[in-house]
């Protein structure tokens, strides 16, 4: 490119031309376009792979946090008929709504979608599940020439509860804010969005706990990992290799085995308590409770995540020339000043990388808190797992996961603003 510009003498008027007489700008753009295209083609396989196996499935899963098509699809006529009904009145909807409900449910029972709808609405109103299961039986007995309202109520008196109809009306759209609100300990009522009763609030607390404990674990990892990484980087190769193996050995051991070993060590009749009692530091009646609580989670997770802190630190520290420290000392700095003013600033990229790695891994941890966390040491991911595989409330699980993702992105942004993401090095 420089050759091209060098070959043409700048003219007083008109655009600058390349050697072949074309405008330099266009020529440059063409050369760059070809380069860009080649680069794009090179990363295309990876891009498609990531898109198909990662972005799209995750996008689809997160979309469930607002998706609510099952209600308008299963009860299309009822949803339309309910439009004129004011949910704030304590009165029941009129006969046309019940007639529409009858028509919709006949179709739904035929297609067996009534019970699925019942499960969906049961998340908002306890009892919808059996209401929708029972209605299949009641429909068969109904006399289509008589008003439906009384027949529905005769079948199940829940139909005379305005709350049932309010729920139907509130959650009749194709999209709903219900799951996200629920994930924030709020609920949608006829009077707008409200906080849930205090004794039912759980998710915000779990989010905060997950953040706080993950930060604490990251900090502990840094505290324990920094000296080891320093030792690894400064010892001669032979002994540093041995330490590296000691760091990596637990890294290669199964996570479940390590978690189970912590149980053996930490429980009240466990190894550590036995030793403390034997030493007389703790009385037999007051053995320490170190597991099935937040302490257990912190200890076990710090141990599991430690290599993720040590390895990036080590790879960065290895590149810091030892002569800098010697130079600092020869210029009169004491050990601490030399370390703090010369060595530590150069290891910051490793600290950043290790901390981000540990924190991101910790925030989504699930199996260790489940096994050693008891009640005070469980994370938000345990609730997500519960809703995915046990309660099957995938909408709520998606809403919780979306919030977690937003929190992580927000933290990443803050980190970038304060420390700068360019300052992170993995080696």
């Amino acid at each position: 490119m420089t050759d091209a510009t060098a070959g043409t003498a700048p003219r007083a008027s008109g655009p600058m031309l390349a050697a072949d007489g074309r405008p330099l700008k266009a020529s440059l753009r063409r050369a760059l376009r070809a380069q860009k295209l080649r680069a794009l083609l090179l990363i295309a396989p990876l891009l498609v792979f990531v898109l198909v196996t990662f972005i799209l499935p995750i996008g689809d899963m997160l979309f469930r946090a607002v998706e609510n098509e099952i209600v308008p699809q299963t009860l299309p006529k009822t949803v339309v008929a309910l439009r004129d009904w004011d949910p704030k009145t304590a009165e029941l909807p009129g006969e046309p709504v019940f007639a529409a409900l009858h028509d919709d449910l006949v179709v739904a029972v035929e297609a067996k979608t009534n019970t699925r709808l019942g499960q969906r609405l049961n998340y908002e109103y306890s009892g919808f599940s059996s209401l929708m299961r029972g209605v299949a039986r009641d429909l068969k007995k109904m006399d289509t020439s008589q008003p439906f309202k009384e027949q529905f109520i005769a079948g199940d008196k829940k139909w005379s509860d305005p709350a049932v109809w309010q729920t139907l009306k509130l959650f009749s759209g194709n999209y709903t804010s219900g799951y996200i609100l629920n994930a924030l300990d709020m609920q949608l009522t006829t009077d707008g969005i409200q906080m849930k009763p205090a004794q039912d609030r759980i998710y915000v607390k779990l989010f905060l706990r997950t953040m706080a404990m993950s930060l604490g674990i990251t900090f502990l990892c840094l505290l324990l990992g920094y000296p080891i990484a320093f030792l690894l980087a400064s010892l001669p190769l032979r002994s540093s290799n041995l330490i590296l193996i000691l760091v990596l050995l637990p890294f290669w051991t199964s996570l479940l085995v390590r978690t189970a070993s912590w149980k053996v060590l930490l429980q009240q009749q466990g190894v550590i308590n036995d030793i403390l009692v034997w030493l007389g530091l703790v009385s037999d009646a007051n053995r320490l409770v170190m597991i099935n609580n937040a302490t257990g989670t912190t200890i076990a997770m710090t141990h599991i995540l430690l290599p993720f802190m040590i390895l990036p630190l080590f790879s960065v520290m290895k590149t810091i020339p030892p002569s800098y420290m010697r130079a600092a000392k020869s210029l009169g700095a004491n050990d601490w000043t030399a370390f703090w003013r010369v060595y530590f600033p150069q290891s910051i990229p490793g600290v950043g990388a290790g901390a981000i790695l540990c924190f991101i891994l910790a925030i989504g941890y699930y199996i260790t808190p489940e096994l050693v966390g008891g009640t005070s040491g469980v994370f938000i991911s345990n609730r997500i797992a519960y809703h995915i595989s046990t309660s099957l409330n995938w909408g709520l699980a998606a809403a919780l996961a979306t919030l977690l993702l937003i929190v992580v992105l927000a933290l990443y942004w803050t980190y970038d603003r304060i420390v700068g993401i360019d300052n992170v090095k993995l080696g």
């Binding site: 067996k112 979608t113 019970t115 699925r116 019942g118 499960q119 049961n122 998340y123 306890s126 009892g127 919808f128 599940s129 059996s130 299961r133 004794q199 039912d200 609030r201 759980i202 607390k205 779990l206 149980k263 429980q267 009240q268 009749q269 466990g270 099935n292 489940e370 096994l371 008891g374 009640t375 005070s376 609730r383 995915i388 595989s389 309660s391 099957l392 409330n393």
Partner: protein, 377 residues
């Protein structure tokens, strides 16, 4: 293992073979059937008992190839995902009662015509009558009754020789000090708490359905909350009992059997107000005809009177058929009579509850949230 136990084990191992040979004559041929079954179960000792009692004899007779997947724990979620992806790879799934209700409700499990698809009892009773209470919905083919019940250590010095005899002893920290392990779920715990708060068995769910009912149960549980270790996997209570971490704890009866009889720990059973649940098969809906034919053919064989009784030789869960009860024999390797260890043994079920699937299906979401919030307080 001594020579004697070895010989008796070998003799017992031969028994099912004799039984299957006698049966082979009336096993009808399977026409237009696939030659493989992908079955899903829980893994561990339970799955082994199914393989020994059901699938190995069946494979020997028909040459069907079995592939086992140990996913029952997440069966509903995975099956739902398979249906959404339009690619159902499972033919037969072992699930607990409430999960079967869910799959049946969602239309993911196939309805079974019990009297047509299953074998009559060996006493001539119809399947509907023989299975009785265990037929909880149209899709569920029951195999076993299992119960959630308590085990306690027999060597606790502080108890001064007293042993727990009633479920309410779990709530009595004065007489029976020490830690207890309870499941980290509201189901069963709330029922036990209310029973010990003076609610009659018949009124349990009426009380739980009132706005104050759940709070009342939680308040009772609150009296022992500080002494509770909460478990989420069935294997935890046996470990906690064996390590003296807890003095009593709830878990599945088969797990306690293994602690007591196989590992010889000083633990005993407290059967009072055991909570019954069922475990059984469901067949995914809309299977291709050849796979459906094969799996129904297998199901008819695997849930007949003899097969269900055979399973109890390997694990201490009660067969779902009434006609299987008298056939329950000795444990294959331990050589002990299994009947006294069955949760369905009359001496063990003087007081019991049956998992109220209907009530929990309605209230699970709300009560679970309340319970978890209560736990974190």
């Amino acid at each position: 293992m001594s020579l004697r136990t070895l010989v008796s084990a070998a003799a017992l191992a031969l028994l099912p073979v004799g039984a299957t040979l006698a049966f082979a004559e009336d096993l009808p041929p399977c026409e237009g059937c696939a030659d493989a079954i992908t079955a899903v179960s829980w893994g561990g000792a339970y799955q082994t008992s199914q393989q020994k009692a059901y699938s190995e004899p069946y494979a020997a007779l028909t040459g069907t190839k079995f592939t086992w997947d140990e996913s029952s724990n997440e069966a509903v979620a995975k099956l739902r995902a398979q249906f959404e992806a339009g690619n159902v790879t499972w033919d037969l799934v072992d699930v607990e009662g409430p999960d079967s209700q869910r799959l049946c409700d969602e239309g993911l499990a196939m309805p079974i015509d019990f009297d047509k698809d299953l074998a009559p009892g060996n006493d001539g009773s119809t399947p509907t009558k023989d299975f009785g209470d265990s037929l909880i919905n149209d899709c569920f083919v029951p195999q076993i009754w299992f119960s959630t019940t308590f085990g306690y250590r027999t060597d606790v010095a502080e108890w001064n020789g007293a042993v727990p005899t009633s479920i309410c002893d779990v709530f009595d920290l004065q007489k029976f000090p020490g830690k207890r392990s309870l499941e980290k779920r509201p189901k069963k715990n709330l029922e036990w708490a209310l029973l010990c708060d003076g609610v009659a068995k018949a009124d349990l769910y009426d009380v739980l359905s009132t706005p104050e009912g759940v709070d009342r149960a939680l308040k009772k549980l609150g009296t022992i909350k500080d002494s509770v270790v909460w478990w989420s996997a069935g294997a935890e209570t046996p470990q906690l009992l064996a390590d003296k971490e807890v003095v009593m704890g709830s878990t599945y009866n088969g797990r306690l059997f293994s602690v007591i009889e196989e590992q010889h720990q000083p633990v005993a059973m407290l059967w009072d107000y055991e909570v019954f649940d069922f475990d059984g098969w469901i067949v995914p809906n809309n299977l291709p005809d050849d796979r459906k034919a094969r799996v129904l053919h297998f199901l008819r064989f695997a849930t007949d009177t003899q097969r269900l009784a055979d399973q109890a030789k390997y694990i201490s869960y009660g067969p779902a058929r009434a006609s299987s009860q008298p056939l329950v024999g000795k444990h294959v390797s331990l050589g002990i009579e299994m009947a006294p260890h069955m949760p369905t043994n009359p001496a063990n079920m003087k007081n019991y509850l049956i998992n109220n699937i209907e009530w929990w299906a309605d209230n699970q979401d709300e009560v679970e949230a309340k319970f978890q919030a209560w736990l974190t307080q």
